[in-house]
Symmetry: C2
Subunit: 444 residues, 2 copies
């Protein structure tokens, strides 16, 4: 007997799960459309060389690789891989269809990605990303637009307490240099500083020391990177940057993004956070991450990646994107009870029961009529005892059962039983649909 579990880190979604997922995806897609983003889909399977080298060493390790087909299968070589994010496929698409796509392209994409991470609570090997990206402009309008769109999506879903943390790769570089950290040690310093939330300044100081960054550099870093919610955070940071032109340009860029976003649903949501680093290696400018208080990890994040399209095209095309994690959103919404109550729908509005197997064709005829009036209708498949059929409808939450006995068939009528109060009425078959619809409406 074959085992019946899904593969490790993968999940099956039963009807209630699917309806919740579809609800959230629908809200997000409709908001993205209101910002002028257009839908794109790419295949789950990419050429292996499309993905390798785009996500840093750790990313390379987590890519699922697919065996070559046919005679090469025995060699154990892989030539294909599962999509790891939605950004690299977008960069490939921008390069491949450059002539067909507009020079400024705003796209959204809501599809699964796969990562061979160690599964853990809330961490899966297949999960959905809901991405928005703006390609073809270096303007801070793009960043502000993305922040506005994701903020409106979350607000529409009912989130009231999220914060968009904002930082800039060039500002990070500038601050690390100003603190006296060797360029070669920047990556290590960021890994340590990334833990400020979790292990506090003393913990980070120890970690910096262990990584060979100590003394004045460590002290300066901890001063620069201290958490702050001040309005004037950018002024404070630009003070540390000194006269480093790239660092000052980064501060100006962040200032522009915040000013534009203030006129959108992202207004009041954005907080400058110098310790935000974002793992992916392709970011070049502003970086963003969304958090809520009761979730370790983020609801989503993104940033500017001006060099990625060029890796496929050999021509510079700037781009910036933001990705919401569907699973994280679902977890928080589930814990907080944020789903609309009418999502827990029943499989049907009415079940047509079967009194006698030889009369089943009449059940089908009435079911067709009821569907034509707009109802969701299930025909019970077997002429079992009426009590058993009604029990099934009740257990499934189906509110009405249509009964067709010999009398009803002869008279062209149908008896409709309302399970909530066990009342029943007999209608002309052509009038039953309207009566049930009306009763459903009154019930709300």
């Amino acid at each position: 007997m074959a085992r019946s579990e899904p593969a490790r880190g993968m999940r099956d979604f039963l009807p209630e799960d699917v309806r919740r997922r579809e609800y959230v995806i629908g809200v997000i897609a409709r908001v993205y459309e209101r910002y002028g983003f257009e839908p794109l889909e790419t295949p789950a399977v990419e050429n292996l060389d499309t993905l390798m080298g785009k996500y840093g060493d750790e990313g390379n390790q987590l890519i699922f690789k697919i065996l070559k087909r046919g005679e090469h299968e025995a060699s154990g070589q892989a030539d294909l891989a599962l999509r790891y994010d939605l950004t690299v496929p977008l960069a490939r698409v921008m390069a491949h269809y450059q002539a067909k796509l507009p020079r400024l392209f705003k796209r959204y994409q809501i599809q699964p990605v796969w990562r061979a991470d160690r599964p853990a609570r809330g961490r899966f090997r297949e999960f959905y990303q809901c991405d928005v990206d703006g390609v073809g402009s270096t303007s801070p309008v793009i960043e502000a637009d993305l922040c506005a769109a994701v903020a409106e999506a979350l607000t529409t879903l009912g989130f009231t307490d999220f914060v968009i943390r904002l930082n800039h790769r060039q500002l990070l570089t500038s601050l690390l240099a100003a603190a006296g950290v060797d360029t070669a040690k920047h990556g290590e310093a960021l890994i340590a500083l990334d833990k400020l939330d979790k292990i506090g300044p003393d913990g980070v100081a120890k970690e910096l020391d262990a990584r060979g960054i100590g003394g004045e550099a460590s002290t300066a870093l901890l001063e620069f990177f201290q958490p702050s919610v001040a309005e004037s955070e950018l002024d404070r940071l630009s003070g540390f940057v000194g006269d480093d032109a790239a660092g000052l340009a980064a501060v100006d860029n962040l200032r522009a993004i915040m000013a534009l976003a203030s006129a959108t649903p992202a207004g009041g949501r954005i907080r400058i956070d110098p310790s935000l680093a974002r793992g992916l290696s392709y970011y070049t400018g502003a970086i963003m991450e969304i958090n809520v208080a009761d979730l370790a990890g983020s609801l989503g994040g993104g940033g500017r990646y001006d060099n990625l399209v060029g890796m496929f095209l050999g021509q510079h095309i700037p781009a910036c994107g933001f990705s919401l994690g569907l699973e994280r959103i679902l977890v928080v919404m589930g814990e907080r009870g944020m789903f609309p109550p009418d999502l827990a729908v029943t499989p049907a509005d009415v079940m047509v029961s079967v009194f006698d197997a030889s009369d089943t064709v009449h059940a089908f005829r009435v079911a067709t009529q009821l569907r034509d009036s707009g109802l969701r209708v299930l025909v019970y498949p077997d002429a079992e005892k009426m009590g058993k059929q009604i029990k099934y409808a009740d257990a499934r939450g189906i509110p009405f059962v249509a009964i067709l006995g010999g009398d009803e068939i002869a008279a062209g009528t149908v008896t409709v039983k309302r399970l909530a109060d066990q009342t029943q009425h007999t209608y002309d078959q052509s009038a039953a649909g309207a009566a049930i619809l009306e009763a459903l409406r009154q019930r709300g």
Copy 2:
């Protein structure tokens, strides 16, 4: 520079493609819901042993296999695989969640599957199936229900000329035995008979001979399997079956399915076709396939598979399913111009232009107001020449451009230009949304 093509046999879907796909998926899902089917989703990646041995030898060859992770990667061993169809995962789910799922479960599932087929015109390595299945009953109500649901889905999409071919695995076996074909040769006989449409009776006779089925058996088979559209086809076939009980039961089953389906949107669409065999090895009873005149191959197919769930559960649970192929439907709808004209939507209803970079925040403020009134709004990212901005909107089919010069900003107004006739009006910023919505409505 990395190559930018999608992997072989895989496709990217640009916005217009996605909108067409979403439209068809939406129609099919809504119809399936009206028949009481509930949504299910399963992971793209399954354990390799879940899939192996379920699809016959050819199927085994076409499964995409995924390399083991970590230290085992170098060994070239595969332990995971990409979903090959939606039926085997359903059987696995029925076994795994038996306690949570109802005893009668009607589910639909619309997801991609992957097959390492040689790519050809209209044949892809990633394609979507739109499946409906009824689990837990052997009643012909299930088969008739499936035929009704797919017929209504196709009718709602605008198809008027499809035919559902219907046959039964037991009837096939009975006819082959009655013709005197050795049980061991049944598979070979079906492969030959499957070509009746393409190579005619003489061709099939030659092919049967080459496979060691000649003489009286070949003559009888060609008589039994001659194409017929007669109402009395089942009577004709039951004549050949003789007193074989399984064959006669199959004829009765097909008769019951046709009678029930006659009271549904599948009425008049079903034709008994003794030459229909269906490749997959898991079918045990009725088998179905949908065809239209101008498409080689089918729009979809299915059948009863009463033993598959048991392979995962060790307990007999009957089931029957029907799968529509999304890609085939899209190809025919594209060739026949069956998509609603308003699917070719523009990326936005209105584009807010940017006159002066320092005024961009006003553009954002007006864009937020316009979105709040229900419009889809794009903000142009760069303060380029107005002519260039308007040209972009026009090229993208965006009907209105909002212009905010110094005068408008000072007065709290916005000038709205209609690109179709180059007329423009100036509105209070708070009134512009309603005016544009009204103009869009009048345009239809």
